[in-house]
C-alpha cells in the first residue's frame, strides 16, 4: 500500500476542517481537497441556536477559527453525489469528479424535514441548521410573531424556545416524549428541565405530536393540530425534530451507510455491508456511526462538537499511519445553554439504564446526575455545577462503578435515588 498523496475530505464544516488541520499537523505534505455542499467557509453551528438568535453575533460571524493553515483546494458550494470506490473518485452533483488515494466522509447531517412537503413549504415554517436558516429565522423573529410553535423538544428546539422567551415571545413547544431532552438525558433531568421551561413561560406540551400544520389562506402558517385534539395558533413554526445523516451519496458504494450514518470501526475506518473495513475510506463527525466503548455494543452517532474534533485526530493518525492503530476512546462531551441553565454532559447518558443525583439537589437547581449501565458509570450531567464534572469524567474513563457509593460534599438530602426512565420512543428514520 503506497503512502497517500491525495486526500479528499468530503464535508467542509467542523469535522472536515479539523481533519485537514490534523493531517497537516502530522506532517502530511500531499494534496488535500475539501468538498463542501455549503458555499461558506467552515462555520460554527452551536451559536446558531444561542448567541445568533440572541443577537450577540450575526449569522455570518460564526466562521470557525483556523488552528493552522491547511494548504488545500476548496470546492465549496459543490455537493458530492456518489462515491466511486472502483475508480476511487468522488463524483459531484455539478458533474465534476475528484480522484483520491484516501477519502474522508465528513458530510454531517441535515435537519429532518417536516414530513409533509406542502406544510413545510408554508411561509413561516423554519428549520435551523445552516447560517441561511438562522438568518431567515432571525428575520421572522424580529418581525414579532404572535406565537412561535417549536416542534421537537430536543437541544435545538429547547434553545430556540429559550431565545424566544428572552425576546418575550409567546412559545409553545411540542415534544413527543414525556419530557424535553429525554432521549439524550432521560426523564430525571428531562422533567427538571421541563419545569424550568415552564417557569420561563414556555407552553410545553409533552407526550403529544403535531399531526398537521394549517395555513391562513395566504400561504403563511397559522397553527397546528395536535394528536390530543388540541389546536395551537402560531404564525412562526420551527421544526426541530432531529437530524438525518448526509449519507445518501453513499447509497451504491456498498458501505454500510444510511440515514443514521456511515458505520465505521473505533479507528474511524468505514465498514462495508459485510463488515469489512475499507483501507482508504474514513468517517468523521456526525456522519460516523460506531460502537463506543461506553455504549455497550450499540451503534451510536454523536452529534457533539467534541466528537468531530476528537475523531479528526483519530482519522489523521490512522490515515497516515495505518499501523498506529489509534482508536477513538475519547469521552464524548456536550453542552447546552438554555433558560439561564448551564448544562454540561460527558459520556453517553443516552446509553444508560439508570441515573441518580450524587451532588446538590433538584430543588436547589444545582446538581450532578450520574448515569449507569449494568453497574458501570457511563455518563454524567452537571446542571449549574461545571467545576465538578472533571472528576466524574475521570471516574467514567477509569471504569468507575455505578451507583457511585462514596461520600461526597453536598450530598442530596433525600436518601432515595431516583431511577429515571429512558424513552422507548426512539426517533425513527425515513
Amino acid at each position: 500500500m503506497t503512502a497517500p498523496a491525495n486526500v479528499v475530505i468530503v464535508g467542509a464544516s467542523l469535522a472536515g476542517l479539523r481533519t485537514a488541520e490534523a493531517l497537516r499537523d502530522r506532517g502530511y505534505k500531499g494534496q488535500l481537497t475539501l468538498i463542501g455542499a455549503e458555499p461558506h467557509a467552515p462555520y460554527d453551528r452551536p451559536p446558531l441556536s444561542k448567541q445568533v438568535l440572541a443577537g450577540w453575533v450575526a449569522p455570518m460571524q460564526t466562521t470557525l477559527p483556523r488552528l493552522r493553515s491547511v494548504d488545500a483546494v476548496w470546492r465549496l458550494g459543490a455537493a458530492a453525489s456518489r462515491l466511486d470506490r472502483v475508480r476511487r473518485r468522488v463524483e459531484m452533483k455539478n458533474g465534476d469528479s475528484v480522484s483520491y488515494d484516501r477519502v474522508v466522509i465528513a458530510t454531517g447531517s441535515r435537519s429532518r424535514a417536516w414530513p409533509v412537503p406542502s406544510e413545510q413549504a408554508l411561509a413561516g415554517v423554519h428549520g435551523l441548521r445552516t447560517v441561511e436558516d438562522a438568518s431567515r429565522l432571525l428575520a421572522d423573529l424580529d418581525a414579532g410573531p404572535s406565537r412561535v410553535l417549536v416542534i421537537g423538544g430536543g437541544f435545538t428546539g429547547s434553545e430556540v424556545a429559550s431565545a424566544c422567551r428572552d425576546r418575550g415571545l409567546p412559545v409553545t413547544m411540542v415534544e413527543l416524549n414525556a419530557a424535553p431532552l429525554m432521549p439524550a438525558l432521560g426523564r430525571l433531568v428531562g422533567d427538571w428541565v421541563a419545569a424550568r421551561q415552564r417557569d420561563a413561560g414556555v407552553d410545553l406540551r409533552c407526550g403529544v405530536a403535531v399531526t398537521r400544520l394549517f395555513a391562513d389562506g395566504s400561504g403563511r402558517v397559522a397553527g397546528a393540530e395536535l394528536s390530543d385534539g388540541c389546536k395551537v395558533a402560531a404564525d412562526l413554526v420551527v421544526v426541530s425534530i432531529g437530524a438525518v445523516r448526509n449519507c445518501d451519496w453513499l447509497a451504491d458504494s456498498n458501505l454500510d451507510a444510511g440515514p443514521a450514518g456511515c458505520v465505521c470501526d473505533a479507528g474511524c475506518r468505514a465498514l462495508d455491508r459485510s463488515g469489512a473495513p475499507a483501507f482508504d475510506i474514513f468517517v468523521c463527525g456526525e456522519a460516523a456511526r460506531f460502537r463506543h466503548p461506553l455504549s455497550g455494543g450499540r451503534l451510536v452517532s454523536l452529534e457533539h462538537w467534541s466528537a468531530a474534533t476528537d475523531q479528526a485526530h483519530v482519522v489523521a493518525a490512522n490515515l497516515l499511519q495505518p499501523r498506529s492503530a489509534t482508536n477513538d476512546d475519547n469521552l464524548p462531551r456536550f453542552w447546552s445553554s438554555q433558560f439561564g441553565i448551564s448544562l454540561r454532559a460527558s459520556g453517553l447518558p443516552s446509553c444508560a439504564d439508570e441515573a441518580m443525583v450524587v451532588q446538590g439537589s433538584l430543588e436547589s437547581g444545582r446538581f450532578i446526575c450520574l448515569y449507569g449501565r449494568k453497574a458501570r458509570m457511563v455518563g454524567a450531567v452537571s446542571i449549574n455545577q461545571p467545576k465538578w464534572i472533571a472528576f466524574y469524567e475521570d471516574q467514567i474513563m477509569s471504569g468507575g462503578r455505578f451507583p457511585f457509593g462514596c461520600r461526597v460534599v453536598d450530598p442530596p438530602r433525600s436518601g432515595a435515588l431516583a431511577r429515571p426512565v429512558f424513552p422507548t420512543i426512539q426517533p425513527s428514520h425515513p
Binding site: 467545576k387 472528576f391 453536598d410
Partner: protein, 406 residues
Amino acid sequence: MLDTFVPSSVEIEAGARLLNAIADPANRPNPYPLYQTLREQPVWRDAGGAYVLGRYNDIKSLIHDPRLSSDPANSAQGGSALSFLNMDPPDHDRLRRMTMRHFGPPANASRLQRMTPVLRAMARMLIDRLSDRSEFDVVAEISYPFPGRVIADLLGVPREDETKFCAWAEAIAHASDRDSGYRSKEAERTFQELAGYIMGLINKRRRDAAGDDLLSGLVNDTQDGALRSDEIVRIALLLLLAGHETTVNLISNGVLTLLRRPHAFERLRRQPALAPAFVEELLRYEPPVHIIYRGSLCDIEIGGVRIPGGSSVQLVLASANRDPSRFERPDVFDPDRPHNQHFGFGGGIHSCFGAPLARMEAQIALSELTRRLVSPELVEDPPPYQLNPTLRGPRELRVAIKGVIE
C-alpha cells in the same frame, strides 16, 4: 481490593524526617530539593497521621475531588470553619456566589478595571517615598502596604481610617507568621477589634445610602437570601486572611526572584508588557501558598495508595508546580513557558477568586519597581524568611538602590 497504605516503620521514619524538614524554618529559603524527595513517593504519612502529596497529576485529581472536604471538622484535626474558604457546598457555594457577584463579571464586570488607576497611584506613591533612600525593605515598604490599601479601597474603608485598617491587617498577618494556624491572644484581640470596625462600616451602610464598594454590595444583596452582618464580617476578614498575606508574599517573592536574575529584571524593565507572563511564572516558581489542607469524606485511592475516610490530607501545591513530569526544566524561571497551568491560585471550587486582583497588583508592583529602581541590589541573599511553611515569603527583603526615577 487495595490494601490501606500501612507504611513500614522505616518508611514512616523517612516520612517523618522529610516532613519535619519541610516544616523546619531553616529550610524555608529553599524547600525545593525537599519537594523533589517528596515526589519520589505518591503519598507520605506525617507523624500526626496526615497524608501528604506532592505530584502534579495526583494533586490535579484531588483538587477536583468531591470526596475531599475543606471543612476542618472533616479532617483528623477537627476545628471549625472561619469563612467560606473552609466550607463545603452548598454553604460554600452560596457565600462565594454572593461575594463574586460584587467582585467581578457578569454583575460587576468593571470593578477591577475601575480600580486600576487607584492601584497605579498607590504603587507610585509607595515608590516615590524611596526617592532619597540608599536602602529599603521591600516587604515593609512595598509588599505590605500595597495589598492592605487595595483591600481597604475594595471594602470602602474611608480614607482617614486607612492607616488604622492597614495596621490591623499587618498585625493579623504577622500573627500567622508561625508554623501552624495557631492564633495568639494578641492576634485574637486584633481580630475582634477589626471585626468590630468592619461591623461598624456595615451598620453605617444599613443606615445610610450604600456606596459602590464591595461591602455595600454585600449589604444590599438579596438574590440568594440576605447576608447576615456576621457573615459579611467573615467575608471581609476572608479577604484579609486569604488576600493580604498571600499578595504580600507574591510581590516579595517576585522582587527577590528578579533581583537574583539581573537579565530577567532588565527584560521586564524594558518590556513592562511582559508583566503578566512574568507574574504567571512567579506563581508557579515561587508561589505564595505552598500547601493546602483537606479532609477525606471516604476512602480515596490515589497513586496506588488508599487514604482512609476521616484523614487529613495535605496537597503541596509548590511541589506540583515543580514536577518534571508536567513542566519541562521545572527549576528554571522561564516567563516564556507555554501551557503554564500552575497551582499558584489553587484549583477546583476554592480556586482563588481574588486572583484577577492579585495578578493586577503583582503586575503593577513589579513593572513599576523594575522601571523606577536605579541599580537595585540584594543586601542579603537568602533573606530571613517568615516561619510559616504554608504562606511562604521573606520576613524582610533589604535592597540597596542608587535612586528612584520618575
